[in-house]
């Protein structure tokens, strides 16, 4: 991407924005002016105003409070599913790449099965079984996105395996575990961090999309996508109900992506900035 300063500044701004969102998520109970599910039947679908800074939805719930709690849900979901997926992917990728040969071939072909389905579809299938609560959703998201990490890790292992210093380590009698933990893993921290930073917005995007079409997180969990779905029905006369969560989703994903690009440029010089991410749709 662009050179030096501008890019750096953009990443900095994104970091600050994300910090604010993260802080809001962490401090939700103290920050939100109302409980996220408190309904005020006397003030349904109010426009932004003094009592309700961002207005209310069709149950008279404060949109700002729901937005803040929604940040909590999105962040929890994004970060935990990305971390779980990364750990799963590391384990699988290491096993595949390090063991090599037939095992590698078999393990990679198993991945083809998962790759044969669109991510969102697979997530939907899993949530039918795991339930549409927060844990079910996190599990479903993790179970789908570890595949990318596994491929990345395996590729890195194959690249590093033949390196001289590994032979040296082996010659010095280092065990497999030691080789993996001390010599392999630290070498791929950069690409892993980049992947992680792209998995988080991908998870947030997936969840909000599913919630928007009504098959994501089950109410009353305040999810941005679910809020947008509420607003969709009222779009004609009360567009603020859908615009508020939409902006939140867009800003969060945008800043994560900018930050991811930045990390990619810094930590992953071998690859063009595009390569760090998979097509997500």
């Amino acid at each position: 991407m662009g050179t030096g300063g501008k890019h750096h500044r953009l990443a900095l701004i994104s970091g600050v924005v994300l910090g604010v969102i993260g802080l809001a998520a962490a401090a939700a109970p103290w920050l939100a002016p109302y409980p996220f599910d408190a309904q005020d039947p006397g003030r349904l679908l109010q426009s932004p105003g003094v009592d309700h800074w961002l207005g209310t939805d069709r149950l008279g719930r404060d949109l700002l409070s729901r937005l803040i709690y929604g940040a909590r849900v999105s962040m929890t979901l994004g970060v935990s599913s990305a971390v779980i997926a990364t750990l799963l992917g590391i384990a699988y990728g290491l096993a595949s790449g390090y063991l090599g040969g037939r095992t590698d071939n078999l393990l990679m072909r198993l991945l083809d099965v998962i790759y044969a389905l669109p991510d969102l579809l697979l997530i939907i299938l899993l949530t039918i079984v795991l339930g549409r609560g927060l844990t079910g959703m996190i599990a479903a998201l993790s179970l789908v996105s570890w595949v990318t990490v596994a491929r990345l890790v395996r590729g890195e292992v194959l690249r590093l395996k033949s390196a001289d210093y590994l032979d040296a380590a082996r010659a010095l009698g280092a065990g497999h575990l030691r080789i993996v933990l001390v010599h392999l893993l630290p070498m791929m921290l950069g690409p892993l961090l980049v992947t992680l930073s792209f998995r988080i917005p991908a998870a947030i995007l997936a969840e909000s999309t599913l919630s928007f079409v009504g098959i994501g997180l089950a109410p009353p969990t305040p999810s941005w996508g679910g809020m947008a779905n509420d607003g969709w029905a009222a779009l004609r006369f009360y567009p603020h109900v859908i615009i508020v969560p939409s902006v939140a989703i867009a800003v969060t994903i945008l800043t994560f992506n900018i930050l991811g690009d930045y990390l990619n440029d810094r930590l992953n010089p071998r690859r063009a900035s595009i390569a760090g991410r998979e097509s997500s749709a």
């Binding site: 009353p220 029905a233 009360y238």
Partner: protein, 527 residues
């Protein structure tokens, strides 16, 4: 924002630009529309047009416009002659003989005969059909036995075509409202030859043969159903040529399409009502759909009828219409307005003093010592508003703090069936417009009575009313039963009857919107 219409002029300019994208689009490119087309939205795809299998409103609405049965409802929802020109009831009330008109024809020219009815009814009851609404005919002799597999010989079921124009029906017990049941789609005639020839696909456009005002011209699944006027309709060809029913699940989208002139009739979502209430295009129709709270009468504190009465007396139901704004009609009695035996004088009206006294009698003066209970409802904005309002009212009047809890519909339903919560919300929409449909709901053997309340006196009254022909006497029986249900035992608190709100283009005339939520289109004209 007022409805904006007819923007076609401005849109036309874009056709050129869009030429780029035409490369793979099928479908008509805005061909000149036929003279009289009615366009409306339906809330979902009709799951089936096979009237033995239809159970939902959308399917039934479509089928109602394609078919005629033995009887049909008039504006007051009384069953009137249709394919049957008249019917006789035997003195013991157990045998109905329907005499059919001989001039009603299927769209392929064949006359509609009593054999088509016999076949259709037996197909409904055939266990292999797997029809949910088979129980509609359980009152026929041997119908239940045949449907449950205890009897395999269909000829013993109590429906027989004596000849082409005479259909004899034998009942297990006298049922005075039976002609209301024969107005319902599951009892409509069916063509054995076509169903056997085409199998499950006999309802496809081009194959489906009907006898009603319209024929099925096209059916794009999850998208639209197109009906065309039946020129051979025995009661005269409808004045409109075509009806297009678009499947639009989102009412906000439907509303925009109405405003852009793409639809002529839309149901109005509650949040939009304030914007249209004063429009001449706004129409409100009360429907036979009751909304109530039930008690689980087997567990304390609601095992004490005095507590249940106190809860009923404590509700000021006039608050609901102001909250919901959908034209809800508060009610204390259970049989809804618009149905036979409706009696607004029955039931417990709002009386805070009496409510407090009743609760004190039961041992909870000013709500002191009242155990923690939860009111449950299925997730829905209307239900939430009502639950919160009731929570506040009970707190205010009785000093009782109730927790509220909601669940997704299917989960909720499971819970009602296995372990009913102390207080629960439910609704009931009429299957046929007879009080029996509403009152039999709370008899001991009803599968939909989740209150676990059982009263032999009530059961006996409902059974007697079902076979009582004299209207005055029947009214008295239902009044007595309603008193037990809503004043004395109070296993449920009726809250309100719902309305349906529509926007209708002023050019539309003759549309009949009845309380059964069905759209009767045969008399519609567009001017």
């Amino acid at each position: 924002m007022l409805p904006r219409m007819h923007e076609t002029v401005r849109r036309a300019g874009w056709r050129g630009v869009l030429g780029l994208l035409v490369f793979c689009v099928s479908g008509a490119v805005a061909a000149a529309p036929p003279p009289a087309v009615l366009r409306l939205s339906i809330a979902s795809e009709p799951p089936t047009l096979d009237w033995s299998l239809a159970t939902d409103n959308v399917s039934i609405t479509v089928i109602e416009n394609l078919m005629e049965g033995l009887t049909a409802f008039d504006d007051q929802l009384r069953p009137m002659p249709a394919v049957a020109s008249r019917w006789d009831v035997s003195p013991d009330g157990l045998t109905y003989t329907f005499h059919l008109r001989d001039d009603v024809r299927w769209t392929d020219g064949r006359p509609v005969t009593a054999r088509d009815f016999e076949y259709g009814w037996k197909r409904l009851l055939n266990p292999a059909t797997g029809a949910e609404y088979a129980y509609f005919l359980y009152d026929l002799v041997n119908a239940y036995e045949y449907n449950s597999g205890r009897l395999t010989d269909a000829s013993q079921v109590g429906v027989t075509a004596v000849d082409d124009t005479t259909l004899r029906v034998q009942l297990k017990k006298p049922i005075v409202y039976f002609p209301s049941i024969t107005a319902f789609v599951v009892t409509f005639p069916q063509r054995r030859d076509l169903i056997e020839r085409y199998g499950r696909r006999w309802t496809d456009p081009g194959r489906l043969v009907t006898n009603g005002p319209f024929t099925l011209a096209d059916w794009r699944h999850e998208y639209k159903v197109v009906l065309r006027a039946n020129p051979a309709y025995a009661w005269g060809r409808p004045s409109i040529d075509e009806v297009r029913m678009y499947v639009i699940n989102d009412r906000s989208t439907a509303l925009t399409l109405y405003e852009t002139g793409d639809l002529d009739l839309v149901p109005l979502p509650p949040e939009a009502i304030p914007f249209y209430e004063r429009s001449p295009e706004f129409v409100r129709v009360p429907i036979l759909r009751g909304y109530y709270y039930g008690f689980n009468v087997t567990t304390p504190p609601f095992d004490d009828p005095r507590v249940r009465q106190a809860f009923a007396l404590a509700i000021d139901k006039s608050e609901f219409p102001a909250l919901l704004k959908g034209g809800e009609l508060p009610t204390n009695s259970w049989i809804p307005a618009g149905m036979f035996a409706y009696n607004p004088a029955v039931g417990l009206a709002y009386d805070p003093a009496a409510a407090r006294a009743r609760l004190a009698e039961a041992g909870y003066p000013a709500g002191r010592g009242f155990p923690a209970v939860t009111a449950a409802y299925n997730t829905d904005p209307v239900n939430t508003v009502i639950a919160e309002n009731l929570q506040a009212q009970w707190k205010r009047t009785l000093g009782v703090a109730i927790a509220i809890d909601n669940q997704e519909w299917k989960v909720y339903l499971k819970r009602l069936q296995t372990q009913p919560p102390p207080l629960y919300r439910l609704g009931w929409g009429a299957d046929y417009p007879d009080p029996d449909n509403f009152m039999a709901l709370f008899t001991s053997q009803s599968g939909n009575n989740h209150s676990r309340w059982s009263n032999a006196g009530y059961d006996a009254l409902i059974a007697r009313a079902a076979s009582t022909g004299d209207p005055a006497q029947r009214q008295r029986l239902y009044d007595d039963a309603q008193r037990i249900l809503t004043e004395q035992d109070v296993p449920i608190i009726p809250l309100f009857v719902a309305s349906q709100n529509y926007l209708i283009k002023p050019s539309l005339h003759g549309l009949r919107l009845n309380a059964m939520e069905l759209l009767t289109l045969k008399e519609v004209s567009i001017r």
